[in-house]
Each structure stands twice: as C-alpha cells, then as structure tokens.
Symmetry: C2
Subunit: 206 residues, 2 copies
Amino acid sequence: MAETADESFGGVTPDAARRLLLGAVDAFAERGFHATTTRDIAGRAGMSPAALYIHYRTKEELLYQISRVGHERSVVILQEAAAVEGGVADRLDFAVRTFVRWHAEHHTTARVVQYELSALEDGHYAEIVSMRRRTEEVLRGLLEDGVAAGEFTVSDVRGTAVAVLSLCIDVARWYRPGGPRTPEEIGALYAGLVLRMVGAPVPVAD
Amino acid sequence: MAETADESFGGVTPDAARRLLLGAVDAFAERGFHATTTRDIAGRAGMSPAALYIHYRTKEELLYQISRVGHERSVVILQEAAAVEGGVADRLDFAVRTFVRWHAEHHTTARVVQYELSALEDGHYAEIVSMRRRTEEVLRGLLEDGVAAGEFTVSDVRGTAVAVLSLCIDVARWYRPGGPRTPEEIGALYAGLVLRMVGAPVPVAD
DNA sequence: GTCTATAAGCCGATAGAC
DNA sequence: GTCTATCGGCTTATAGAC
C-alpha cells in the first residue's frame, strides 16, 4: 500500500542499504516491527534475506536507524519553524503548521517513528526518548514565551504542550493520502486550533 | 509493570477465560500483540499454554474480544456523557472530561483498543472500525449542535472532531499512573482546551 | 478443563560458494 | 556484496493422558 520514497533517508549509502531502509520503513508502517519479517524487508529492496545482514547487524538496527534519523529530522523541522521571525503567536502558528504537515506528508516514516518505539533495545530506546524530550521542550518554550509576552493564557503549560504534541503526532496514525484534506490544509486547521487552545487573540475571520 | 484488573471484563465467564483475557490485555499493552506469546498470556493467568485454546480458538480471538468489549465500553461512556442534561458547551465539557478520564484510568485496555487494531483479522477489523465510527459521530454531533446553537465557532466540524478525538485517545499512549496529574485533572484540563478549540465562550477564570 | 508433550512451520541470523 | 542453502530456536496450535 505505502511505498513513499522518503527524502529523510536520501543520504544513506550505499544504495542497497538505503533500499533496505526504505523497505523497512514501509513494512514497519504497514504491519508493525514485530509482524514484519526480514524476508519481507529484503524482498521490498529486491534482495535476498541474507543481504540484509551485510548492511545491518539485526532487524532492530533497521528500526533504530529509522527512529534516529526520523526523530532528528522531525525535531529540526520543528525547531527551525519555531525560530522564524515574528511574534510568538506567528511562531507557534508556523511551528504547528509545519510539524503537522511533516507528519502528514511523511506519515509512513512518522508512523514508525512515533508508534514503534517500544520495539527498540533498551539503550537505543533511551537515546530516542531523550531526542523526544527536545521536541517537547521546543513546544513548551513557545508556550512559555507566549505567556511571558502576555499573548497566551495557559494555566498548565506542560500539560498543554503534551496535548498539542498529541494533536500533531496523531496525524501520522490516521492520515491517508487520498483523504479529503491536503497536508497543508490539515496544518492550517491544526495551527488555528492550537492558537485557540493557548488563548491567543483571534486573528480575523473564521 | 501493568496489572490493572479492568472492570470492563468483569462479566466474562468462566473465571479462567477472564483471567486469560486480563493477562492478554496487560501483555498486549506492554509489548504489543505480535511480540506477545501465548505462553506469556497463559503464564499471567497461572495456566499452561494449552489451556488458552480451551477458551479461545486463537491468539487473535483474544485481541478481538478485548477490542470489541473495550470499544463497546468506551463508546457507551462517551455517548452517556454527551447526553447529560444541560447546554451544549456543558455536554461537550462533560463528554471530553469523561472520555479522557476513561482513557487515563483504563490506559492499559485503551492502549490495546486504540493501538493494536491492525493485528485483527480482516472481518474483525471491519467490525471494530464501524464501532469507531460511532465514537466519531457522537463527537461530531456535539460540535454540530454547538454550531447550530450559535455557541461554537468551528470552520471544519469533521476535521475538528478528528482533532478532539486525537487529543483524547492519545492519552492512553502517554499516560503513566505515577505521573503528576490524576486522570480527573487531565480530563478537566483537556475539556477546557477543547472548549477553546471550538470557540466556546470562556466560562470565568483560568 | 487442565496438564505434559510435541507437531509443524516460520523466524532471525549464519555459512560458504561465487 | 549478493546469492542459495540451512541451522537452531521459538511460535502457535494440537494430541492425548488424567
């Protein structure tokens, strides 16, 4: 069903390693890590099962690479969007818009990144969790800035940041490419909802 | 880690079948369906692996029963809460508050119910999906009522209903019992956030 | 209804030829 | 670096005693 070539992994070399990684992304997103076989992954890359072990030590290492690169990408996307010029409401608007659009456009990668974490080895899991904390901190920082500037009214900054994050990442779970809304439209809708959640003054129309 | 005896399955008989079901809920919530072995489930119920097959034909049937009963319970919870006496803002407030609290209090069951669907057989999957539609319809109905009453301002009712649902069910993913907020507190916070999302007039304080 | 024992098959990973 | 062939182990599910 899904075979989104994902530019997040464009830099992976050699070619065979990248094809295996992309095959793993699609397979993990469709069936989940544990239901995916190494035969399936290798088959999607047009290779034999044994070839996988030339490029990756274990199946889990594939998931780890996907999680690591995917999280790096998503946190950079969010950080850069949150750092645009402008008032804090505009920055939150753009951050949510961009982050949501990424989760829709890269829903295959995002689904693995967000929902297959528990299959990681302990050490890898800990590393990824610390990357996720950075994502939450960016969002929390925006809310704190808005409250400090008197533009947002938020009683529980930490809890609200969690809620905003839920909204954004859950897009990866339900989004389907043929749906009635484009990633851009979902991003715009969600940015508006989040501005309301933080009590930002309403722009103009609705 | 989790061994929440869940009253959702209190009516399951005989006793051994219920113990197996509760063991499966905990195991599926911890590791996921595919990573859980029948030995693990049977062990949690204090039985041998073979005993499982006296009460359930397959491992998938356990997941199906959990999904079916869990969805029935959660949709009833939401429907009843959405039907309380009062204005539409109060009904939405109470519905979100109750639905969120259920997802926190029954996070083990809810995690399986919300995030292990893809492991169901095609026929079972279709049945569960149709139950999920009812949940979405209740929420959408509330938003439509609020717009019709002039109490809510929502540009995209369907999209906003999806967003509200995301917020609620994602609680089951991140909630941990020892956290800083009680289920009741999370429900109250989220109900407030949702009222803002739909443009309901602010009650009083914040 | 529950047990012990085991069948039948699939899985992750490796060996060794090319 | 990729293949074919295969190992050892674990899985779901069943057989048959009690």
